[in-house]
Symmetry: C2
Subunit: 497 residues, 2 copies
């Protein structure tokens, strides 16, 4: 975005003909002028205490009417960004940095029995409605970012090669070719494992549930980071488990001191974490801390179910190792999938359940005998020869880019006091608005405008995070997407007015 | 098989060159002579009390030595089929009819907590070993009986048409096209249902488990027929449910009086039955009895989980309606799949959970979010345009034929006192040997000869049926298959000697 030109530069006319592909009308002139000034504030060209161009000067500079400029300034004033000083003009009230990251979340004193409302089902149902203007709900890459034709081609080739119509029941462990590929890739991130210690599943959700069902009994308490993925809370509820929410740093994950204390004070059967680009906070636990986490859990005799589905989506040069890489006692049950990097519709996931392998295999068998063979064949072929690493490099760049863009717009259009997470991987942002804000209300008003988000309360066992929401950003940047973020900011602002 | 010629007919030489495809050595001459005589007894040419040819006469007739005939007669004598009368010769001791059907099974007085051994996992693992001479273990049609090429072709076409690589998470309910096809076919068997009241699953095993997990709580008691499918017992154990085994007639299913009494005496949370060609007994509950079953369960307020996977495999002109067809109060949760009629590797199943639809849908969501889309697309396409009914007609004929052939050989080669089920549909036989017989021992000795069967005890929550085993017969008839059945009979006979 162009920054506001300083005094004396040539005027610039904002009106222009829409570019190809722009089918919706442009935002009103006053909003676009307000945006320009906001950009200058954010970029540090205009700093706190500095006078912005007078109404008359801005009118000339932008080639618009006095009324339009006044309307733009009034909006900036409403948002607390500028202030009018009598007889003097308009001044920048505060320097706008990128929105700050959310603060550390707090532990709960007691483990909660879960009674999730039907909200989650309604929310995920809404996400799959056709005709959405923007879907910030589903945490999976847009097909535009995935080599869909190559996936289709490999699937068909494997179907013919193995005549899947003639395949009998697969062994409960899962397709061997796929387990071999998973074991090979695990080696790259520091996990040495035999293919026979891997169990394929119907996505990572299925893997996490099979692991938890194996290592817990109804009524047990499970320690989790907070906020946490709503799908995990659903699993805890359906298995009649109690959730113990433990304080979490949005920069580096669960607070080990708080976890240590929780494990001392409660009888905890398992711990479930997403340590590498968590859902929804996006943090990555530092490598050294992962080692300490393993030691801590080992000391307490508490197994870790590690959700690693976002691990491959790092924005940095090296993919961080999973916690499983530091596990010397088979105490970590790693779960992952290809849903966040290839295609969720394939439902290809797996787990490395350590010493619980036999029990998990048996539970998978009695849950579904086996998972479909054709999609596993396609996944194995793609991992072996589909250019998965090349694809990952592109996908990571795309996710990093989208996250930065969405974060920029959120910073620009959301009310003052808004905080935004700063992930170094994954595909989502966690937006925290001032306390009085109601994310469920935002969810409803956004829904009415065909914009999907994930409201904060579904990420807590105890209905916290009412002022927060999650935005998935693994969609290519379009004007629709930008406008949708702007609309969200507007709707949020309306609520706080 | 040619019958024994009567006195005076021309001698027949048994030695011959092997036919193409016969790579194994022929059975010893004396066994083949014994078979001939057995065939004559079974076919009623030789009846009880009748004298069979003298040793000398038979020696001439068959063109073999006296010693060979004596050995053959000794074997028939050992099996109680003929007797030597001093100074007179050999006489038929009893007329051999087709082996009788098993008797009614008995109820258990109390509900059993399940502690299945690792036997089931070992057994199903053995079944998937390569190089089996004959697999009577897996209850699914051999690929030779399935239009595998058409399945592959339709799957590929659908993959390309819908670009499955680009599909997002599916709605938890499952693929709409598939649900529409299932609803259409349901109408043909008397079940009127909306596609939105169907939930697709990862096979019927998955469907049954989702339903049971939805309508029960850990510790609940579930009424089942006995013997029952081992996969169901696995589900009950893993859900911490107690199994109440109710007396069952091998001709027409669970005893309603015994069920009524069980429901009066116990607090039962659900009933699970496979009323149409049950696994393993093969019975089909008469239509009128299905109506009475619905009324009985409704009166007791106990929901029925109906496993209908074999329903399409009828040997008669009309496919019997499922119990669900008589359900007026949404008290029946029907579960089925395409694993027994098309291809188990696709893992396409579904449930019609009646009033529990929302709860089942939610449990499916939290278990695995969704099942893979590509295989559902292929299944929908096959049901719509793949000639499913034509295929079914062929498959039914094949299954009926195999069952009759296997049953014949069992009758011929198994020890006296053996009983065999007489199913009018499905693809399996239940073989009951005399009390002292040990099916686990037969399982082991058959395994050593690369023949897979399903030993009786895995079909009971209380380790009953030690003298029984299940044979799946949905494999094309070959000499290997015939020889394998004969080997089983020999191994069983050895045990009782």
């Amino acid at each position: 975005m162009a920054t506001l030109v300083s005094e004396g530069s040539s005027p610039e006319v904002l009106t222009r003909t829409p570019e190809p592909g722009e089918d919706a009308p442009l935002a009103p002139l006053y909003e676009r002028i307000a945006d320009r000034i906001l950009g200058s504030i954010r970029d540090g060209i205009l700093v706190a205490g500095q006078r912005i161009p007078s109404v008359r000067r801005a009118s000339e500079q932008f080639g618009v009417s006095i009324t339009t400029v006044l309307e733009a300034y009034r909006r900036l004033e409403d948002r607390g960004l500028i202030e009018a000083r009598p007889q003097s003009g308009y001044y920048v009230r505060r320097t706008l940095d990128r929105a700050p990251a959310p603060a550390r979340t707090a532990s709960n004193e007691t483990a909660a029995e879960l009674t999730l409302s039907d909200l989650v089902m309604r929310v995920i149902h809404d996400w799959s409605q056709p005709g959405l203007m923007a879907n910030f709900g589903v945490a999976a890459p847009s097909p535009a970012l995935v080599p869909t034709t190559r996936i289709d081609r490999l699937l068909c080739r494997e179907v013919r090669r193995h005549s899947v119509g003639s395949l009998a029941y697969e062994r409960p462990l899962g397709l061997e070719q796929l387990r071999v590929q998973i074991a090979r890739r695990a080696l790259d991130v520091g996990v040495t494992i035999s293919p026979d210690d891997i169990v394929t599943t119907c996505g990572a959700q299925n893997a996490v549930r099979l692991c938890l069902e194996t290592i817990t009994r109804p009524g047990d308490t499970v320690a989790i980071e907070t906020p946490t993925y709503f799908g995990l809370l659903e699993v805890l509820e359906s298995l009649h488990l109690r959730a113990l929410e433990v304080a979490t740093f949005p920069e580096h994950g669960i607070c080990l001191d708080a976890l240590d204390e929780a494990l001392r004070r409660h009888r905890v059967a398992a711990c479930v974490l997403c340590p590498t680009f968590a859902n929804p906070l996006g943090h990555c636990m530092p490598t050294e801390k992962k080692g300490r986490l393993v030691d801590l859990l080992e000391r307490h005799g508490v197994p870790l179910v590690e959700d690693d589905v976002y691990g491959d989506l790092t924005f940095d040069a090296h993919r961080p190792p999973p916690v499983k890489a530091f596990d010397r006692t088979d105490n970590v049950l790693l779960c992952s999938s290809l849903s966040k990097t290839l295609a969720p519709g394939l439902r290809v996931g797996w787990t490395m359940p350590g010493r619980h392998r036999r029990a998990v295999e048996r539970l998978k068998f009695n849950s579904m005998l086996a998972v479909p063979t054709p999609t596993q064949l396609a996944a194995a072929a793609f991992l072996e020869e589909g250019g998965y690493d090349r694809h990952l490099r592109r996908l990571r760049r795309a996710c990093a880019d989208q996250l930065a863009r969405v974060s920029d717009v959120v910073t620009r259009v959301f009310p003052l006091g808004t905080r935004v997470s700063r992930p170094r991987g994954g595909c989502m942002l966690w937006v925290e608005l001032p306390e009085e804000f109601d994310a469920l209300q935002l969810y409803e008003s956004a829904r009415a405008e065909r914009i999907a988000i994930a409201p904060g309360p579904i990420f807590s066992a105890t209905e916290r995070y009412r002022n927060c929401f999650r935005m998935s950003c693994a969609v290519p940047w379009t004007q629709d997407v930008e406008r949708a973020v702007e609309r969200l900011g507007k709707l949020a602002g309306d609520q706080l007015r």
